[in-house]
Amino acid sequence: MKEYFFLLSSITSAMKGEDILRKNGFRASVFRDSKINPYGCGYVIKVFGEKEKISRILQKAGIRVNEIRESR
């Protein structure tokens, strides 16, 4: 199991994503990071789990993810 950073542009999307992932049993939390978004002011959902599964859940909920990074 790995930790991933899902990068998003909107705080509402991040909150929605966190909410849905928690409901699906994932340990997820939102934080803000201005450096990781090339357009400034991004939000990150930090989550442990399987990348593909998490991506599918977020996609199904209509949440647009800008980028996925693996925690180092």
Binding site: I11, T12, D19, Y39, R64
Partner: protein, 382 residues
């Protein structure tokens, strides 16, 4: 004071609402979606919780399509100005508040749109729907109506009108200024495209809160440009709801209070609240109709066709003077024209105005009895 001006704003607010506002000042004082510190994120979470709750309340599946505004008027302006900027024909009812009439009047003045006013019929929903149907043209883009008149409490047949819009490929907007919190709304099920509502009336939140619920968000355009806490290095207004329509700092204490208000309404149920309010309105109406010197303007309020609003005048007094008499006896009502030119013209009250009694979720039987006694006394002494 006996408070019967709930159509303007509900009072008092429940304890839970006041507590939530205070808690917001004490514990959620950061700017949501702007700062990354703990309180900033926790405040953003509180805002999202309310967004989810409100979306659920109006039967909207996606919480991001629920936009916080400063009031119902702002929400109505966003929708009407967005859609009207591309032209077309609009239909409204003869019960509308100025917050629907004036944006459309302005758009017509600018040469952008044309609009028609449909005649409505108290207690005759089929005739009302037919009246709208007869006005539909090839370029009709939207029907925008109030759920209930803010002056006379006359309701419109929303489900039937939603069906009419669906059949004709027309967008449907419902102004729930008077019905949010006392009448169930399920946007998905009923087929309503846009709902605009104040947070501070039937939803029991603080003033300065409003809601726009959009089933077709892609049509909306920003009316206010600026900081959204996203895409900060780009000059363009970000696309996508809710941020696109929420530039600037949100009213967090208001939203936290609104969240508690919605919870309070949820717990009791809109239909139960609506039934109680109508029962009180009927009690008042029946007594007033027996009094000499009192003029009423509608039929007995019934749950299906009316909300709990009664307009009347005493003797030869104007609506404003009647309201003043009540105020002298410690009763809060609203006299005059209630920002609603169309409906006063319809009911022939545009010269005298009316005194409006509006019942809220927190009014009690004792207050109703006291109110009736006071009006009886006034009616005997004019």
């Amino acid at each position: 004071m006996l408070y019967f001006d709930n159509a303007a704003t509900t009072f008092p607010k429940p304890f839970a609402v006041r507590k939530a506002v205070l808690e917001a000042f004490c514990n959620f004082g950061a700017n949501p979606g702007r700062s990354g510190h703990k309180m900033g994120i926790e405040t953003a979470r509180k805002v999202f919780e309310c967004r989810k709750k409100a979306a659920d309340f109006f039967g909207l599946s996606e919480p991001e399509n629920l936009v916080f505004t400063k009031n119902c008027t702002e929400a109505l302006n966003i929708v009407l100005m967005s859609i009207g900027s591309n032209g077309g024909h609009f239909i409204i009812s003869d019960l509308e508040h100025n917050s629907v009439l004036r944006p459309l009047f302005e758009l017509e003045k600018r040469g952008k749109i044309e609009f028609s006013v449909a005649e409505t019929f108290e207690n005759e929903p089929e005739k009302t729907v037919k009246s709208f149907r007869n006005l539909i043209k090839e370029n009709t883009k939207m029907i925008a109506v109030t759920g209930s008149s803010n002056v006379f409490g006359i309701k419109l047949p929303i489900k039937e009108m939603a069906k009419l819009c669906r059949e004709n490929g027309i967008l449907f907007l419902v102004d729930m200024a008077q019905t949010a919190g006392s009448e169930k709304m399920d946007m998905e099920k009923f087929g309503v495209d846009f709902v605009c509502a104040p947070g501070h009336k039937g939803l029991l939140g603080p003033m300065g809160t409003g809601i726009l619920a959009a089933k077709k968000p892609e049509i909306l355009k920003p009316h206010l440009f600026g900081g959204t806490g996203s895409f900060s290095l780009l000059p363009n207004q970000p696309e996508g709801l809710p941020e696109m329509l929420e530039s600037g700092t949100l009213n967090v204490p208001g939203i936290c209070g609104l969240s508690a208000g919605i919870e309070r309404v949820f717990a009791e149920g809109e239909n139960k609240i609506g039934k109680r309010e109508i029962r009180f309105a009927q009690e008042i109406y029946r007594e007033l109709s027996k009094m000499e010197n009192i003029t009423l303007f509608t039929n007995l309020p019934e749950e299906k066709t009316h909300s709990a609003v009664i307009s009347f005048v005493a003797g030869d007094l104007s609506g404003e003077e009647t309201s003043e008499k009540l105020s002298e006896k410690g009763v809060a009502t609203r006299g005059g024209f209630h920002c609603s030119a169309l409906v006063h013209q319809k009911m022939n009250t545009e010269k005298r105005g009316t005194c409006r009694l509006s019942i809220g979720p927190l009014n009690t039987e004792t207050e109703i009895l006291k109110l009736i006694g006071i009006i009886r006394e006034i009616s005997k002494n004019i």
